[in-house]
């Protein structure tokens, strides 16, 4: 048994007390808001055509990139019900800042991403807010497909895969392999069972599912349309998706995503100052 001094014991007690106070505050006045149910799939038909700035169909297996300004949003419309669309994003004004999967799940106390949640950078800021989401079943733990995962699943390492798609997407903007880290895969109902094994929940993703992601900073986004490695498809036959960039007002003071948790509020407080004092707009 390690003997600890009275001073150290006092320090430990003070640290624990501060944590208990924070925890109590988090469960009291600033209690997390209940999140709304998934968006109606029919909402996907109601995007005002005059707000759409760019629209593209990504064939199964392929990738593309989008540059978004704050004040714009990205719609991922899963027209074919394909099992998994992976994305990775960087701050367009400083690409060393990028999506951080660990902070996204840790800060929000949940690996379940859905309408009302936000996606974090490694700098304590919000990159995307999930402002609409008809699916609510996405994976940010297990990652996208790779040559190895395709060899294992389909017996063919040469098939198109998310890792190489994202390396290509990053590369088209002067970024390199080392800029490609953990990804988030939408339309991928991956859960963790009591033994810690990953399981795929069948019959969740439907054709017509969509996710709207509002950019909270200027972003470069790489999108890979390849099936999740745990998807039960036997043959490699991903369907196409439709991606739209559209005008979306910035988060007001009563915005759902901004106010869903005390943590989200603080992350917006870290993000908003990038766009004051004459910073890029």
């Amino acid at each position: 048994m390690t003997i600890i001094s009275a001073d150290k014991a006092a320090m430990i007690a003070a640290n624990r007390r501060r944590y208990e106070e924070l925890k109590a505050a988090g469960q009291g006045a600033s209690k997390p808001l209940p999140l709304p149910p998934p968006s109606d799939r029919a909402l996907a038909n109601r995007l005002e055509s005059n707000s759409v700035l760019q629209r593209e169909t990504i064939p199964g297996g392929w990738y593309t990139t989008f540059a978004l300004k704050r004040g714009e949003a990205l719609r991922l419309l899963n027209t074919s019900g394909t099992p998994g669309v992976s994305i990775l994003m960087w701050n367009a004004d400083d690409t060393s800042e990028r999506y951080n999967a660990g902070d996204t799940v840790k800060v929000q106390w949940s690996a379940e991403l859905r309408k009302g949640r936000v996606l974090f950078s490694d700098m304590g800021r919000v990159m995307f807010s999930i402002v609409e989401d008809s699916c609510g079943a996405h994976d940010t733990l297990a990652g996208g497909s790779t040559p190895d995962s395709n060899a294992h699943k389909y017996g063919d390492a040469s098939l198109r895969n998310t890792r190489e798609n994202l390396v290509l997407g990053a590369g088209k903007h002067g970024l390199a392999r080392r800029d490609v880290g953990p990804v988030i895969t939408f339309f991928a109902p991956v859960a963790v069972d009591a033994e810690g094994r990953f399981v795929w929940r069948n019959d969740i993703v439907k054709a017509g599912d969509f996710v709207d992601l509002r950019a909270e900073m200027n972003l470069l986004v790489a999108i890979s349309n390849c099936p999740h490695p745990f998807a039960p498809d036997k043959a490699f036959a991903p369907g196409s998706i439709e991606v739209s960039r559209f005008r979306a007002p910035t988060a007001k003071s009563d915005d759902l995503c901004r106010n869903a948790t005390a943590e989200a509020r603080r992350a917006f407080e870290n993000t908003d100052p990038l766009f004051t004092m004459g910073a890029s707009t």
Binding site: N100, K106, W109, R178, G181, A191, F230
Partner: protein
């Protein structure tokens, strides 16, 4: 024979990096218990190839690191294998603490407290790398259960004094460690303590 070729105690809150050659074993000992050890690995001869948390989890089909886990690189190569573990589950999904994320998690007043990504940045820049090279890490001795409904929380460390993990290197690797300084949650029992790294030559 287990010849010790390197032995070092990483003081509380501090960082370390060192090379483990193919066939050598790296042992990390939680000397006083309940201490998270944030760890990254890079291929020693090509830092562009590095530990990939998502590749590792996908390849094993399970969410935690434990005995038998093969640590996979972003290029699909086995870098190390966990050959001994007296603790149990280790996290690789919750990342490392940072000054910036601390403000979001614990309040803006925690901005100027030491954090793991400060340690990582100091250490990787010694080897010519930058913030871009800091990827998702392993949190040895840190317990972050993911519930079937997706909830997760960092819970009290479960490692007892003297708990250790041992990994055998399958290629030459650079190991980078932050001995986690976090005192705002229970991952270090609110009291960061030293850990020991020992490298053994091939048995």
């Amino acid at each position: 024979m287990n010849t010790i070729v390197y032995d070092h105690t990483i003081a509380a809150n501090q960082s370390w990096s060192g090379t483990v050659k193919r066939g050598q074993r790296l042992r990390i000992v939680d000397l006083e218990g309940q201490q998270a050890v944030d760890t990254l690995f890079y291929a020693a001869h090509n830092f562009g190839e590095r530990y990939s948390a998502q590749d590792t989890l996908r390849a094993q089909g399970a969410a935690y690191i434990g005995k038998g886990t093969q640590l996979i690189s972003n290029e699909g190569k086995v870098m190390l294998t966990v050959v001994a573990d007296t603790c149990g589950r280790h996290d690789t999904s919750a990342g490392a603490c940072s000054c910036e994320a601390n403000t979001v998690r614990f309040g803006h007043h925690t901005r100027y407290m030491h954090a793991c990504r400060e340690n990582f940045l100091v250490e990787v820049t010694k080897h010519g790398m930058s913030k871009r090279d800091i990827v998702a890490n392993i949190n040895f001795f840190m317990n972050v259960p993911v519930e079937p409904d997706g909830r997760l929380a960092i819970v009290d460390g479960i490692s007892a004094p003297g708990s250790y993990v041992e990994l055998i290197a399958e290629i030459d690797v650079l190991c980078v460690i932050s001995n986690c300084p976090q005192i705002n949650n229970p991952c270090n029992g609110f009291n960061p303590t030293p850990v020991q790294v020992t490298i053994f030559d091939a048995a």
